[in-house]
């Protein structure tokens, strides 16, 4: 234990975790000795994205706790232990299994529990709630033996649960007591449209249904009987009819509790006992419970600040409950006073039944201020409207123009970010204001990716990322900072612009590019960039006389240069599948030329220590044995890693090896802004680690899930789920388009992960471009990819068949001798480059074979 103040936290959900993170970020966590109790079997996980569990069915994917977080601050964490009593007089908490902890400060983050209507039969078998990972596991298990599922509750969480059931492949019903879906956030008109959209997906919606009892079904496990005499047969039931604050512990400890539940807190998040705080869904502020993550996080920050002595003088003063989300693929947003409850409020409504869009504005009496809004089917205006509502910005003369489609094709005038006050909250999830963004920009953060990393804006739900981008651009312009995006001193263009110049101008060589669009002699920045673009567009042999001098170190010799000037050789082993005969060839080549051999992370074999002049000789043997270039030297596709898949594995559901080989052979040789790594896993256990790749494919029972823009390495990034349960043809089509769009638009040496982080509009934008063809370029991208695939050649085969090219691999232009400076020593039965000390000693040195 480190600090002197004993701090106990009861409940280990997302809000409690935010509280602990705030303490740690303050740098003062070590003043406390911290003990955390959680009644779930695992520490804090991202309950907000609970449904994402179905993508991987692994609890780790939702984990919020970075490795070593608890240990490095000496926090004691008890999982699976429920605190059953608080002895306020002696300041001790105890669990039902007898563990105790003394406290000076106690924080209650006990959350909420799902409300289950007390109808007879609610506790039958196969009746569930939707709150924990254990609930989801149980629902998944039950869905295997059932054909029909019903969700009780048509609110936000109910619709999420319905999506989960629908995705599990069972016929899904939503049963709602109110006359419409999402009754809290949405009005009748919006509810009607939302219902239609959800029914179009094959989910049945029953509104105005009061469940009276649940009994044995005739053909199914249950029968739900409604007050209007109707019945519904179903195999499993998920209750998602709202939440209730988990205040039992506080109630028993005689803290002040609201009339309808909730632990009463003041603006500092203190309960009626000043040494006890309550945060999140269990807390009642000003008579209100806040069931969203953003207000919970704000309470966590307020409580932490107050416990630390109030240095930032934070207070909890309520929270905006506006939300924007995608429910079963439908955009839904609700802002402020969506039901026009404010006296004198007036509404503007726009309905397009053709495109299935519903938009409503609620304005004050003289139509000068925006009070609320509802958007269904198209929530693009959410960011702008929210800023009007939150900041009381004066509305334009005709507010209706803000939701009406523009008929002349021009986009409706959005709100300029300059109009926003400094205090305007841009990212409500992480409480980042325009002022926070501006000061980060002024201090030198000049890219969208860095700005997100530094301020945390747009890193939770991502809804504000376009707005963050606009603030960045506006501020950079204001600071007079013209960001120089020129590739180098020879070309006043970005990589993307040069790509277009090459493509549109049909430019076939660097010389032509330099003459038409550049100056000087070029350099080691623009030459490899141009070489890569020329290869992506026209796919010539890269060692053609006019291209050879442009190639970067490794491309120039079609091998990977190591620290002593020798090279390593990596033949392609598509999908990691190799015959014993070929393994023997690699072994024999390694032995013959005394090469150091190592298995790579990409499931192939690397042969180190070849000198320039050995490369064509070794490759002649490899090509004769049926090997081809592995492009380990190129900014191009490296490997498509695979697990063994359904052909051998007891758990596999698709042939992942076959798919990986097909994908690797399809894209091998494609030159791109940076290297590309891919993987295919045969089931959700994900043994190929596809979610850390630029393109990851995971087999499902119905097809494939496609993930994009993941990265391991220096800055790991979990890949985003791009499309689910698609067939092989669609999978290939999307990857074709995705790769070509990346090749077209990324910066030099920008991996897909960073590219994605800097893409305005992020994942959703990319899905629109690739899946919905929003830019009308899909056919073009596919044709460009088809050209690259159709013109593939093994660069090593071409090289060894051409005497002039082989001459480029001589160590000396005027001698057949080798580089005497290259010397090795023996280690663990293989060679390695000699160190300077070993060279000086001159003992046991080995020259090139």
């Amino acid at each position: 234990m480190s600090g002197t103040t004993r701090l106990v936290v009861v409940g280990n959900g997302p809000v409690s975790h935010q509280f602990l993170e705030t303490l740690v970020e303050s740098g003062k966590a070590d003043q406390f000795s911290i003990t955390v109790f959680g009644e779930e079997p695992r520490p804090a996980y991202d309950r907000v994205h609970l449904t994402a569990w179905f993508e991987t069915r692994k609890a780790e994917s939702l984990n919020m706790v970075t490795e070593g977080f608890y240990e490095s601050h000496s926090m004691i964490v008890h999982n699976d232990k429920k605190v059953s009593s608080i002895d306020r007089a002696n300041k001790v908490v105890s669990t039902d299994c007898g563990t105790t902890a003394e406290y000076d400060v106690l924080v209650l983050g006990t959350g909420s529990y799902p409300f289950v209507p007390p109808v007879p039969g609610h506790d039958r078998e196969n009746c569930f709630v939707y709150r924990t990972i254990e609930d989801l596991e149980a629902i998944t298990e039950a869905s295997k033996n059932g054909k029909i599922g019903a969700v009780v509750g048509g609110g936000l969480l109910g619709l999420e649960a319905a999506k989960a059931l629908h995705d599990l492949g069972i016929k899904t019903h939503v049963v709602e007591f109110a006359p419409r879906l999402m009754a809290v956030q949405v009005d009748d008109g919006g509810g009607k449209l939302l219902r239609k959209k959800i029914e179009d997906l094959g989910v049945s919606v029953h509104t105005g249904k009061n469940t009276q009892q649940i009994i044995d079904g005739d053909n199914t496990t249950h029968k739900m009987c409604f007050a209007d005499g109707e019945e519904l047969e179903t195999d499993l039931i998920v209750f998602s009819a709202g939440i209730r604050p988990q205040d039992a512990l506080a109630r028993q400890s005689e803290l002040d509790i609201g009339e309808r539940g909730g632990i009463v807190i003041n603006n500092n998040c203190q309960t009626s006992d000043p040494s006890i705080y309550a945060i999140g869904e269990c807390a009642l502020w000003n008579g209100r419970i806040f069931g969203l993550i953003a207000p919970g996080n704000e309470m966590a920050r307020v409580a932490a600040d107050h416990i630390l002595g109030g240095a930032e003088d934070k207070q909890f003063l309520g929270a905006d409950m506006s939300t924007k989300l995608k429910l079963m693929g439908v955009d839904v947003a609700s802002i402020g006073d969506a039901h026009a409850n404010t006296p004198g409020a007036k509404c503007y409504t726009f309905i397009d039944e053709q495109l299935e869009v519903y938009k409503k504005l609620v304005v004050n009496e003289d139509a000068s201020k925006l009070l609320g809004a509802v958007l269904i089917g198209d929530a693009d205006d959410y960011g702008t409207l929210l800023q009007y509502a939150l900041n009381g910005i004066e509305l334009p003369e005709h507010p209706e123009a803000m939701i009406l489609p523009s008929l002349d094709g021009t986009a409706a005038a959005g709100l300029g970010v300059d109009a926003l006050p400094e205090g305007a909250q841009i990212c409500s999830c992480n409480n980042v204001t325009k002022g926070d963004l501006c000061s980060a920009i002024a201090e030198g953060t000049h890219t969208l990716g860095d700005l997100k990393a530094c301020t945390k804006a747009a890193t939770s739900c991502g809804g504000c990322s376009a707005l963050v981008g606009q603030v960045l651009n506006a501020e950079l312009a204001k600071l007079g900072l013209e960001v120089n995006t020129d590739l180098c001193e020879h070309f006043p263009y970005t990589r993307q612009e040069i790509y277009h110049l090459v493509r549109v101008g049909k430019i076939k060589s660097f010389k032509e590019l330099l003459e038409k669009h550049g100056k000087g002699h070029g350099c080691d920045i623009c030459k490899p960039t141009a070489a890569s673009i020329l290869a992506s567009c026209w796919n010539d042999y890269i060692l053609e006389a006019e291209h050879a001098g442009l190639q970067d170190t490794n491309d120039r010799m079609l091998a990977n240069m190591q620290k002593n000037g020798t090279y390593s050789i990596v033949p392609r082993v598509a999908g990691g599948e190799i015959t014993p005969e070929k393994l023997i060839v690699l072994g024999e080549v390694g032995k013959k030329y005394n090469l150091y051999t190592k298995i790579t992370g990409g499931q192939r074999i690397d042969l180190f220590g070849a000198t320039v002049d050995q490369l064509p000789v070794i490759w002649k043997e490899l090509v004769d044995a049926g090997f081809e270039s592995g492009h380990a030297y190129g900014k191009s596709l490296r490997t498509v890693k695979s697990c063994v898949g359904s052909t051998w594995c007891r758990y596999g559901v698709q042939d992942s090896v076959g798919a990986a080989i097909d994908i690797e052979n399809r894209y091998k040789g494609l030159r791109s802004p940076h290297k590309l790594k891919m993987a295919v896993s045969g089931c959700t256990r994900e043994c190929a680690e596809a979610q850390s790749k630029d393109v990851g494919v995971i087999a499902t029972e119905k097809g494939w899930n496609l993930y994009v823009c993941g990265n391991g390495g220096m800055k790991p990034r979990h890949a985003d789920l791009f499309a689910s349960d698609i067939d092989t043809e669609t999978l290939i089509k999307y990857i074709d388009r995705f790769l070509m769009f990346y090749v077209r638009t990324a910066d030099r040496l920008q991996r897909t992960s960073v590219w994605m982080d800097n893409l305005e509009g992020g994942l959703e934008y990319l899905q629109n471009v690739i899946i919905n063809d929003s830019l009308g370029i899909a056919e073009e991208l596919e044709a460009e990819m088809a050209h690259v695939i159709g013109t593939y050649q093994c660069e090593w085969k071409t090289t060894i068949e051409n005497e002039d090219k082989v001459k480029m691999f001589r160590s000396f232009v005027n001698s057949d001798s080798g580089d005497s400076n290259v010397v090795f020593v023996q280690e663990r039965g293989q060679i390695r480059p000699a160190t300077d000390e070993e060279r000086e000693l001159g003992k046991d040195l080995i020259a090139v074979a």
């Binding site: 002699h521 350099c523 490899p528 170190t553 620290k563 000037g565 000396f812």
Partner: protein, 121 residues
């Protein structure tokens, strides 16, 4: 004749290759009196530098990319990417690590090198 030409004529010139042996705007390495010398051809001009890269301790500069930085012709080390001026061997990033440049001339298509470093000559 200028002084420079007189001086060159006193040197020990070695024919190493034809200009056609050097790929356009790139380099090759020649072995002259046991010394590794990188020879570069830019348009129709040739340059000669040590092949030894002081930053990596490897003989690799002939395999670097040539180009210009603010008008000065340079080669970039293929290992850690420092730049050396083709005419003088000056290292752009760190003058203390500059390398030797050699006299080089053309006789028709034949490339001739004088293996004494310019500074020493």
């Amino acid at each position: 004749m200028t002084d420079i030409f007189k001086k060159e004529d006193n040197m020990n010139w070695t024919a190493v290759c034809s200009t056609n042996d050097i790929p356009p705007n790139a380099g090759v390495c020649a072995l002259v009196d046991g010394k590794q010398i990188a020879i570069f051809k830019i348009d129709n001009a040739v340059f000669a530098l040590d092949n030894f890269d002081p930053f990596s301790g490897a003989n690799v500069l002939s395999r670097g990319i040539v180009g210009s930085l603010e008008g000065e012709l340079v080669v970039a080390s293929p290992i850690y990417k420092q730049h050396f001026a083709l005419a003088t061997g000056r290292c752009i990033e760190d003058e203390n690590e500059s390398i030797a440049a050699y006299n080089v001339k053309l006789d028709g298509d034949t490339v001739l090198i004088a293996a004494e470093a310019q500074a020493a000559a």
